[in-house]
């Protein structure tokens, strides 16, 4: 499969074979990444973060540097040409002359697709608006695959803000390529958008919706937790009430399967109690390492290397 010079814009553009190929490549790289430490020594990655990011940016920068490559870019628009009113199209046209690939995060949806249209080098979407975060979805799938040995056949619960979370949207689309059961757990206010439900139905994915985790905790194999975002609530009292009912503690897991894994895109605030970190269920810090490997694999693939 050839990923050379391909942009990674949306998980919706990717077929299952392509996703599986990236997962397979990451798995091989995981074991022998040290053989690849010089592969990108003549490459420069432009990291254009129009929105603050810590984990994703560091993950991409580390991935590039682990492979011997270099990184240029910015991590906030202040002080950049954007603050002077330059549009995105012009910014990427300029950066294209300095770099071999662009990693882009932007507050607006569709920004990565627009950028990719105007440059000849590959663009990797590192999160745009509330809709897309394809490399996060790929690393989430890789985490599930590594921890459970399969993705097909699992009952995967997504918990928290399913309406606005971009990791949720990308992951939902990614999972719809597999034969999974999806359990959606959220406050009624934060239910997944009808449009996405419709796509799930079209893909014949079995979906169960509930607002109560206790009802489903014993059935699920993967629990993917996201933050309940305070800014979405008009009434702070309502936020406090809702927040408490979605906090994962040891007692929440009393009826869980022994091999349930708990994932989180991080940053974690109060939604998972720290006591859970020390159980076998918690894989959210391993997920970070898996993310690094997946991003290394993606970089090698778009620069035309095969991982074997």
């Amino acid at each position: 499969m050839d990923f050379k010079n391909k942009s990674i814009i949306s998980i919706r553009d990717m077929k299952r074979e392509e996703i599986d190929y990236i997962i397979k490549s990451a798995e091989i790289l995981h074991e022998n990444w040290r053989n690849y430490t010089n592969y990108l020594s003549d490459k420069i990655l432009g990291t254009l973060f129009f929105e603050p990011s810590t984990r994703t940016r560091i993950s991409f920068e580390t991935a590039m540097k682990r492979l011997g490559g270099m990184v240029v870019g910015f991590s906030a628009p202040e002080g950049s040409s954007l603050a002077k009113g330059e549009n995105l199209i012009d910014t990427v046209r300029v950066v294209e002359n300095y770099c071999d690939a662009i990693v882009l995060r932007h507050p607006l949806e569709g920004a990565a697709r627009l950028a990719a249209k105007y440059v000849k080098i590959p663009v990797i979407n590192a999160g745009t608006g509330a809709e897309e975060h394809p490399t996060q979805a790929l690393l989430d799938l890789y985490t599930i695959f590594k921890e459970k040995g399969t993705i097909d056949g699992l009952n995967i619960a997504l918990l928290g803000d399913l309406k606005y979370g971009r990791t949720i949207h990308s992951l939902t689309y990614a999972l719809s390529n597999y034969k999974v059961k999806l359990t959606l757990v959220s406050p009624p206010l934060m239910k997944i958008r009808e449009e996405i439900m419709e796509d799930l139905r079209n893909n014949k994915i079995e979906v169960k919706e509930t607002s109560n985790l206790d009802d489903v905790i014993s059935e699920i194999d993967v629990l993917y937790v996201t933050r309940i975002q305070r800014e979405r609530f008009a009434d702070p009292t309502e936020y406090e009430r809702v927040k408490g009912s979605y906090r994962i503690e040891l007692k929440t897991l009393k009826n869980a399967k022994k091999d349930l894994i708990i994932m989180h895109p991080l940053p974690r605030l109060e939604e998972i109690s720290q006591e859970v970190d020390y159980t076998n269920h918690a894989v959210y810090f391993k997920q970070v390492k898996y993310g690094l490997i997946v991003r290394m694999a993606i970089l090698l693939l778009i620069f035309g290397f095969e991982i074997k």
């Binding site: 949306s10 607006l108 949806e109 569709g110 627009l114 608006g129 509330a130 449009e195």
Partner: protein
């Protein structure tokens, strides 16, 4: 001369758009980019009686033949409209509205956070994912714009 003809007389050459959904003639002009400053003679009839639809709008544009890709956009707000090309008072061509598979430049994407609504020098682009009722998927942000969303843009 019928009551209808008294309202708008026959035109010699040009385009007649009939059976426009009542109240939408001015929106059709907007879609066609007709501002009145082009110097064309344009007659507009709004909410006239129609045996088929109860009420309808009619637009007559003199000395201008509309092209197929121009008229296609009209279907977004006036799906029943008919288009007659007139020469020497005779109908020489009847154009059928046909919704294309993809649209460019109109309408606006319903998503305020879409990059096409941000002032970037880029036109909107959509895939038509459903004809009836109309649903368009933005090529950039992937959100769906519906018929109702399009009406709200006027």
């Amino acid at each position: 001369m019928s009551e209808q003809e008294l309202r708008i007389r026959k035109i010699r050459n040009g385009t007649v758009i009939d059976h426009i959904t009542a109240g939408n003639a001015l929106n059709v002009m907007k879609i066609l980019g007709l501002t009145g400053k082009e110097g064309l003679v344009i007659s507009v009839a709004i909410n006239v009686p129609s045996s088929k639809y109860g009420r309808k709008d009619i637009l007559k544009i003199e000395e201008r033949e509309l092209k197929q890709d121009e008229v296609n956009k009209i279907i977004l707000i006036a799906p029943n409209a008919t288009i007659n090309i007139i020469k020497d008072y005779q109908v020489i061509d009847k154009k059928r509205l046909k919704l294309p598979a993809e649209l460019k430049g109109f309408p606006k994407c319903v998503n305020p956070n879409c990059i096409t609504n941000s002032g970037e020098p880029v036109e909107t682009e959509f895939y038509v994912i459903q004809n009836e009722p109309l649903r368009l998927r933005c090529k950039y942000c992937q959100r769906v714009t519906s018929q109702d969303d399009i009406f709200k843009q006027f």
